[in-house]
Amino acid sequence: MTKTKGDVLRGTLDLLILKTLEAGPMHGYGIASRIEQVSEELLRVEEGSLYPALHRIQQTGWIRAQWKKSENGRPAKFYRLTAAGQKQLHSEEERWRKLTRGVSKILRFA
């Protein structure tokens, strides 16, 4: 396996999933494609851990799943952000911003 693209940092996958779903309900494949597309292929979702993550987040109540027809007519499992998920997303974003600010300061001065 060539590591030309950056694998998603552990722990940030949840944030990316929630952020992606903020745009509207989407199935797993859509989420993965969209993360890659929006990050201009800088980030690559490790697909083997995407689905366990989706199931895990579903348990916390931040997202809900529902079978619906996909764009090409095949049924697919769509995930949707709940109100609780929306709140979680905001606090995760805040946390992430703080973290990156801190890390970049250290990179600049250390």
Partner: protein, 830 residues
């Protein structure tokens, strides 16, 4: 797990699997299509996509872990863990489960008795109609009410608490009966368990309905019961049907066994003055009880104008209210007793929970290392608390199972303690039904909260830096347990004392030298003169026996007497017709006037209460119902031993012509010696007589003391159970406190403190929470006793002394053991 559950679980997981497969297949397909669209070879595309995805099985497994049913497997894990832990410590498990079994079992037993009656619900809209004085009404009045009222759609009447003799000859059996009129069963929404029930159209037929119990025991649940003949007081009745087991009639907490139409009381059906019925009704929709009462009062006024009594009577307005339909004299007592018993067993349950809490704390201290390791390995606090609570739940369920089984057995033993009947067919019924089981289960779950929550929260908060010690919580537990046991023992003390007092109660007659016989001549079909003649023969034959001092006839004897007569201006007055020798025979003393002579009929004797009402301030005695009143006697309880004195009229007669009459016999020696001789003498006069039962005065009294005896026994037992629980709890708590202090004790001893001084120090320290508990308990008992009646100081002192001694022993034994340990080895242990 039943096969249905297993199937459901596998279907559920099958659906989950299918969902997962489809979801992943969709993803892979989309990826492959994407590659092919970009111009890749289909086979290459597939290989690439699968390689990029990695292990599909591992992804699936990871998904499964987060499935909705993960908590189920966690629960299974917790249960397995808890079960393993409990079985590894059989001594602890047995002790805790035994405590809970006592606590829960006591509740289940009491509830199984209370349940049957408190929840016998009366349907909505059913009301009681009664004169404010509570006087019974006559049949003709009832008929008028039934016919003329405009506010009820169904009316019924009943004469509860009758003693029926069912069967004939040697197979006859006395039971609690009830004469019912009108739409009794339909209004009370009773549905038949077999056959049909009586309704308003059955009034003139000799029909009867029997209880579920009687059906089972006497008729072996014969499905073809309807249409069979039941002899009631030597008259043939046809059985119409059987009531369901949950219906007990109008004498709760006693259970009625036979409901009959008025065919037994044809003589009463033409009288407007003979009051013998209680009435109930179902309100028409939209009518409030107050409107109904107004309507009934104006109807009553009209009827009084139409049928004026011999003399204008005192106003006695009619009251319409929700029943309280029980006519039993002990119903109020039963309600109070139920509330009290439920409170007491509730306290016993809390003591048991406190015990288990103490045990759990002690065990958490022993398991400190294990818990600490689990916490360090990253088990979350929530999960740990959940695991510990699961243990409490298992303990609770174990205790509940044992408790329910014990209750089931003890319930029968307890019911057997009341001789199968209190006063013949009067039975307390109990049953373990779904409601009782639900209650038991609720208590088991409650024990998780009361016993398990604090200890498990505390255990999960431990760390090795601050060694596990919970002296404050434990001392609080000691205070609470001591206080609760003082309270329970004091309550038991009140009842044991009041039973002792009731035993010493003056029944108003001399029971020690009294023999009584209830005679029924119904089988002999005598004419009135023959009846009179026969009773005279009986009296003379018994009086001629050696050792008999005097004999008197009476239509009813004290206790259980409900006969009433209407006296102008006074209303319904309780009465009895008695022979001239009655007072001497019963040992009822003379207060005023003179005793009636043998040949003086048409006289009357009144009790103090009636004399005070008619001729206060010792005015000369006058006439009553055309009878000269010659004597005043003390107030003798007529219905129950504890009744408040009420006016009573004795009508003196020398001739008795009713087929049911009693014989009072005064004996020189203990009356039991004469019982068989008297029975044989009477039996010899006519072989067709049913078996003659001679009872001593004390036997008669004992029947009326049964409820009090049962209460004293029950509460005494509960008091002992509470004491036993409290002792073991105290012992465990104090012993545990001491074990933790063993190193400190060892240091003290090693430094040269005398063992006796250390022992005194330890005793002093444990005495503080015990004394606090006693103080709280005594204060609570004093407040509680004010509700219940008197609690005398000696009883309370005895209880305090008992608790103090027991707690001292509970400290001294483990303290002594702690002192005997070699200081060096105790210190090495740390």
């Amino acid at each position: 797990m039943s096969w249905i559950q297993r199937l459901a679980a596998s279907l559920r997981s099958q659906k989950l699997e299918r969902d997962l497969d489809q979801e992943l297949a969709f993803h892979l397909d989309m990826r492959i299509r994407e590659k092919i669209a970009a111009g890749a070879d289909p086979d290459d595309a597939r290989r690439d996509v699968l390689r990029r995805f990695g292990s599909i099985d591992r992804a699936k497994e990871a998904c499964r872990e987060h499935s909705t049913f993960a908590w189920l497997s966690a629960l299974r894990q917790d249960l397995r863990y808890a079960a393993r832990n409990l079985s590894k410590n059989p001594a602890f498990t047995a002790a805790a489960a035994a405590c809970l079994a006592i606590g829960i079992g006591a509740n289940t037993v009491v509830f199984s008795f209370v349940n049957a009656f408190l929840f016998q619900s009366v349907p909505a809209g059913v009301v009681r109609i009664a004169p404010a004085s509570g006087a019974p009404i006559s049949y003709l009045e009832f008929q008028d009410w039934q016919r003329l009222n405009r506010v009820f759609d169904r009316v019924f009447a009943y004469a509860p608490g009758e003693l029926f003799t069912i069967g004939r000859g040697p197979e006859s059996q006395p039971v609690l009966g009830e004469t019912v009129l009108g739409d009794y069963f339909r209004t009370l929404a009773v549905v038949p368990a077999a056959g049909r029930l009586l309704d308003a159209s059955d009034e003139s037929q000799p029909l009867a309905v029997i209880s579920h119990q009687l059906w089972r025991h006497r008729f072996h649940s014969d499905p073809a019961i309807a249409g069979q003949i039941l002899w009631i007081d030597r008259q043939p009745f046809t059985i119409a049907g059987v009531v369901p087991a949950a219906f007990h009639g109008m004498m709760a907490p006693w259970s009625t066994d036979v409901w009959a139409t008025a065919a037994l009381h044809r003589d009463r059906l033409s009288s407007r003055n003979m009051g013998w019925l209680a009435t109930g009704a179902h309100l028409k929709s939209g009518i409030a009880p107050r409107q109904a009462a107004a309507a009934m009062n104006s109807l009553d006024a009209e009827l009084k104008l139409e049928h004026p009594g011999p003399q204008p009577s005192a106003p006695d307005p009619i009251v319409v209210d929700r029943p309280g339909l029980s006519a039993s004299p002990i119903w109020q007592v039963f309600l109070v007793m139920s509330a009290l018993l439920m409170t007491v067993v509730g306290i016993v349950y809390l003591i048991a929970c406190a015990n288990v809490a103490g045990l759990l704390i002690a065990r958490a201290a022993a398991r400190r290392r294990e818990i600490f390791i689990r916490l360090s390995l990253g088990v979350s606090r929530g999960r740990l608390v959940r695991q510990l609570l699961t243990e409490s739940l298992l303990l609770g369920l174990l205790g509940a199972a044992v408790g329910a089984a014990v209750a089931f057995l003890a319930g029968d033993a307890l019911a057997a303690l009341f001789p199968t009947s209190i006063s013949h067919g009067f039975q307390f019924r109990h049953a373990i039904d779904l409601r009782v089981l639900a209650w038991t289960l609720a208590l088991a779950v409650g024990s998780v909260l009361f016993a398990g929550l604090l200890p498990s929260l505390r255990a999960s908060r431990q760390n090795l830096a601050a060694p596990a010690r919970a002296p404050r919580l434990r001392q609080f537990l000691i205070v609470a347990q001591v206080a609760a046991s003082v309270l329970v023992l004091a309550t038991a003390g009140v009842f044991v004392r009041s039973f002792q007092k009731a035993l010493a109660l003056n029944p108003g007659f001399d029971a020690a030298h009294l023999l009584t016989v209830d005679l029924s001549l119904s089988d002999l079909h005598y004419s009135r003169p023959q009846t009179q003649d026969f009773y005279r023969q009986v009296r003379d034959a018994v009086a001629a026996l050696p050792g008999i001092e005097s004999v008197s006839l009476a239509d009813v004897l004290p206790l259980g007497n409900r006969r009433e007569v209407r006296i102008p201006q006074l209303g319904a007055i309780a009465t009895a017709t008695v022979g001239p020798d009655y007072f001497r025979t019963m040992g009822i003393p003379l207060l005023r006037g003179r005793e009636p002579q043998r040949d003086e009929p048409s006289l009357a004797v009144v009790n103090q209460a009636l004399a005070d009402r008619l001729w206060p301030n010792r005015q000369p005695l006058g006439e009553l119902l055309h009878r000269q009143v010659v004597e005043v006697v003390p107030n003798t309880p007529q219905w129950s031993l504890t009744e408040t004195p009420r006016p009573f009229l004795y009508q003196i007669a020398t001739q008795f012509d009713q087929p049911l009459t009693a014989l009072a016999i005064r004996t020189a020696a203990p009356p039991a010696n004469f019982a068989s001789q008297v029975s044989e003498t009477i039996q010899r006069l006519n072989a067709d007589l049913p078996p003659i039962l001679a009872q001593t005065g004390e036997q008669r009294l004992r029947l009326w003391l049964e409820p009090q005896r049962a209460a004293a026994l029950l509460l005494g037992t509960l008091g002992l159970a509470a004491l036993a629980l409290a002792i073991t709890g105290l012992y465990a708590l104090l012993a545990q406190l001491l074990v933790q202090r063993t190193p400190e004790i060892a240091v003290r001893v090693a430094l040269g403190a005398s063992r006796r001084r250390v022992l005194a120090l330890l005793l002093r320290q444990s005495a503080i929470p015990v004394a606090a508990g006693i103080a709280v308990g005594v204060a609570a008992s004093a407040a509680f006793a004010r509700l219940l009646g008197q609690l005398d100081a000696p009883t309370l002192l005895a209880i305090v002394a008992l608790i103090a001694t027991v707690s001292a022993a509970a400290t001294a034994i483990p303290a002594y053991r702690a002192l005997r340990i070699d200081p060096a080895s105790a210190l090495r242990c740390e």
